[in-house]
């Protein structure tokens, strides 16, 4: 049994303590925008925000999340895809297959929340999510665009 605050809504879920938060979000809560990619916190497809920090939910046991922790998934990032990162992603036509993009957007929006004008070096350090389609060049450009729009 766990109580989770996801996208501002409280969910009581019946799960074993060791269950990764990713699978609770996907299978119990039913939000499937957060993706499974590797299960070992290497690829970042499962990235969510917990209290504003980007976290890889596939290696985050549900028991480590407190009831008062604020979890935000891609579905709760903004109403109508209005986060500056989402708008910039649309403007640059970033996604190809799109599978990793929830995680990329969560990582990029967490970066921008902390660092209003990230340098290329800051982006290099923060954006370690894998994109097999290779959209990295557009991700970098879109983060710069979003930073300018926010300024």
């Amino acid at each position: 049994m766990a109580r989770l605050n996801i996208n501002g809504k409280v969910h009581d879920v019946q799960v074993e303590d060791g269950t990764p938060l990713l699978w609770v979000i996907r299978e119990q809560v039913g939000l499937t925008g957060t993706k499974y990619g590797c299960g070992v916190a290497q690829c970042g497809a499962c990235s969510v925000h917990i209290n504003g920090e980007v976290r890889r939910s596939c290696m985050t046991p549900v028991s480590s999340v407190k009831a008062e922790d604020r979890i935000v998934t891609i579905e709760g990032l903004s109403p109508n895809s209005s986060n500056p990162i989402q708008k910039a992603w649309l403007e640059h036509d970033v996604p190809q297959c799109g599978y990793c993009q929830s995680g990329q957007i969560m990582a990029a929006s967490a970066l921008l929340a902390k660092n209003k004008n990230p340098s290329d070096k800051d982006i290099d350090t923060a954006m370690t999510n894998i994109c097999r389609c290779g959209t990295y060049q557009r991700i970098r450009a879109a983060i710069h665009t979003a930073a300018k729009a926010k300024a």
Binding site: E16, T19, P20, W23, R26, E27, Q28, G30, L31, T32, G33, T34, K35, Y36, G37, C38, G39, V40, Q42, C43, A45, T73, I74, E75, L77, S78, S81, Q86, W89, L90, E91, D93, V94, P95, Q96, C97, G98, Y99, C100, Q101, S102, I105, I123, D124, T125, M127, T128, N129, I130, C131, R132, C133, G134, T135, Y136, Q137, R138, I139, R140
Partner: protein, 732 residues
Amino acid sequence: MKTAAKQPNLSRRKFMVATAAASGGLALGFSLPFGADLAQAQAPLAASPEVNAWVVIKPDDTVVIRIARTEMGQGTLTGIAQLVAEELECDWKKVTTEMVTPGQNLARKRVWGDMATGGSRGIRGSEVYTRAGGAAARMMLLQAAADEWKVPVGELTVSESVIRHAGSNRMTTYGKVSAAAAKIAPPDPKTIKLKPYTQWKIAGKPVKRLDTAPKLNGSKIYAIDLKFPGMLNAAVKSCEVFGGKLVSFDDAKVAKMAGVKRVVKVDDATVAVVADTWWHAKTALDALPIVWDEGEGAKASSATIAKNLESGLTSNDAFADTTIGDTMKALAAAPKKIEAVYSTPFLSHATMEPMTCTAKITADRAEAWVPTQNGDQALAALSETAGIPLDKCEVYKMDPGGGFGRRVTIPDYVHKAVNIARQFPGIHVKMIWSREEDQMHGFYRPISQARMAGAIDAQGNLQALHIRVSGQSINAFSNPAAIKDGKDVRQLQGLWKEPGDAQFGYTVPNLQIEYAMRNSHVPVGPWRGVNTNQNGIYLECFMDELAKAAGKDPVEFRRTLMQKHPKHLGVLNAVAEKSGWGRPLPAGVHRGVAVFMGYASYSAAVAEVSVSPKSEVKVHRMVIATDCGNVVNPDQIAAQTDGAVAMGLSALFFNEITIDKGRVVETNFHNYRILQLADMPKVESVLAPTHDFWGGVGEPTICVVAPAVMNAIFAATGKPVRHLPIKNQKLV
């Protein structure tokens, strides 16, 4: 951006219905209560009739363009819609798309043609009939207006879905005449004239993709995300050793674990745990005692496989696909002879979405939701495995989270999912492979080696070239019938003498190109770019070794040999110009070049690279020129070029699938490292289209990425790079 915003932002509930609706050949936009039987949703509904198989126009002028090829990120969906819309003369802002299903294609005598999406054929393989489909629909819509107004159709004009008759100053729109147009007989194909590219207004332009919006907010449903009432989840494990068999499993040990429904045998080599959730299924699978018969394959290792390949470098069993002059004699007599051996490893596709498939089987109907590059084949696999006739089967194609060739040749994951679902009749069962299962059970890019020898005369001209490729054959594994008289020319892709698809681009007076087949127990298949990757490295890196021996600039050396191959030369010249070849670079930065042909397109790359004393390589910039004949969407070609660089550099620097005790060693991204953003160079895509043919886009550019960087490293260090990946190699 405007067009992307037009995409229907389907809720999950509506999505289920939409998926089913596509099979009825109907437009989207209606809804049923969640959980309604999908079969019901396939009954004909009161929606706008189609003008023809490709085009539905609603009363509000919304245009629905039907897409048969798979969209897995490569942009084919948008590109085909551009081609149809171009001939249709419709308002691009009102264009949406829907995927047709394999069952519907079969029922309508394959009216949408081949659904397979591989070999970079999505657009070049369907451009004629998709454009003709748009043109035919336009002719029918105009005829409908002419009939209504009782004027000759030749007096009408149309632009952006608005039909006008100047003589009577009347106008109407496609939406208003589409119902009447649907009743008009289609035009004689001989009367359909397609526009020359010079008149294009939508095709050829960098319009935004039509499928972006739902990828930004989590609303896009991939196969792994599907949910159905009462659905069960399956986790699978196959024998780690290729060719091994499942002997037994002790299901009593996991029967009482949380959520477990049943443990089932899937096939000779695979077991599955089926549970209420996938996490429960996977947890129980990890705890399940399983006995395997690993078989002969367990004796194999990377060392034994490499030894077998080495034997093919000098053996007598090779066949020569190209024999010009007397290469052996010329090499023996050469004043300067250069020799080198190269090697490339097995590679996995590592699509971000691992293999997954959902199936529901009843006594007389079979359905599967499949992220496939090959819808027709998935349907056949469903029917065959379920034992249910084709006309009682349907496949709902899900846009794959990456394909790269993994989902095109053998529908192994469809067979497995259906074999599981058969044991739970009437219930949707979703099978998901773990990343480890995906890495350990792929169809890998074949391992290969090459022995190269070249003769340079006193004037620095290339007099003779001998290429011997030794390696595993894809056809031997998956399509032996394609091998004629024991000669598998496919493995020499990019070195072929025939023009048109993947031609060798140099003129050499004495030339011999050979292949010796050396197979292993490891399953192999097409991997983005297929054999152009390995052959591009062998030829183009050796060309730089020869240029250096000849004392010539690598671009000049190639130009001399390419005079009879103007399109190869064209992309070389384009990339040399745009990269600033020959101009000074910052201290420590060096250039490398490569040119190759594949999938009917010509590609050339220049890489700018620096190498530290500790052998750390930094790729600063890559300029890649492409001649794919006609350009449908330059922005999407640029995106594919980015992708080719990312995947090509991953393979060059980090990736290899090695074998120990018959099984794959690299089981997840911790030891199969994928290139990250920080490693991505600046990429410039240069289009050099000649407009006289239709070439592919998704695959052709990847084969020049690695050799251009390898040649830049050679320029920096003076030592050629001959073996991939270059991680852990001392370069300096």
